[in-house]
């Protein structure tokens, strides 16, 4: 079944997480067009589950980020820090020539670094 709500704005990932975490498989998710939100619930959903879903939608704060979104922001920041630390320097595989195993590893890391730089257009 679908139940329609009028909602001004949503944080789709956060609202989806909150609904599915609270209601489990009985809530399939939603469709949102910027004004109307159609909640998709299993036909077996009880009245209290529908009420619970409605409460989550009404209480939803679009400015509040989900755990997954916070984690994503942290990952992007960590990657940016790592990029700044490395800068334009490239691995010099010749430095590892004394140890054959390490030299082999350095050769592969150097290759991967070149591949990544090419993919990122650097």
């Amino acid at each position: 079944m679908e139940i329609e709500y009028k909602v001004a704005a949503i944080n789709a990932q956060a609202l989806d997480y909150d609904l599915k975490t609270a209601l489990g498989a009985v809530c399939s998710g939603f469709v949102y067009d910027g004004e109307h939100l159609r909640l998709v619930m299993d036909d077996k959903a009880t009245a209290s589950q529908i009420l619970q879903a409605g409460g989550i939608i009404v209480a939803h704060d679009p400015s509040k980020l989900s755990d997954a979104q916070l984690k994503e922001i942290e990952q992007v920041a960590a990657l940016e820090r790592a990029r700044e630390q490395v800068g334009d320097s490239k691995i010099d595989e010749n430095k590892y020539g004394d140890n054959n195993l390490l030299a082999e590893l350095a050769k592969h890391v150097a290759w991967l670094e070149l591949e990544v730089r090419q993919l990122r257009g650097l």
């Binding site: 949503i10 789709a12 990932q13 399939s28 998710g29 939603f30 469709v31 910027g34």
Partner: protein
Amino acid sequence: MTAAWPSAPRTWSVGELTTAALINTELRDRMDWLKTPPQTSADLAAAVVLSTTSFADIQTNTITVVGTTILLMPTFFASCSTAIGAGILAFDMTVDGVSIGGGSGIGQYSSIGSGFFFNVSMPIYITGLTPGARTFKLRGKISSGTATIYGSSAGYLGRMAVREI
């Protein structure tokens, strides 16, 4: 537009007079119908975000057909919020509430990573319709995460066209 495809093509017998009425039916009406058969198209105005794991409506279109065969031509831009391969976005169409593609739909797109766009285009040929007003719905679902179907309000073209053939 000629309201309906004229009945079976006429076969002239030797020496039979070709009247204005006959030629109008055989040429004018058939050409007219071929150029402008029943057809409609509707653009998706606002972007639609979906997180549902079971098919739900995205867009509705209605056409009155005189024959039994149509071509459905939905096309639009979409993106997924999930990492590469983490979510499968699926689309289906219904005719008067009856699914065309079943549980798997008529088109599936594996996420290519958050923030990347891809073009969804799924023309499909449908036969066996009953003449009259028929309602078509584009439906969507995603296996995990969320997906956005972009509308003209965001500067993209999302269109569902239907044409009797």
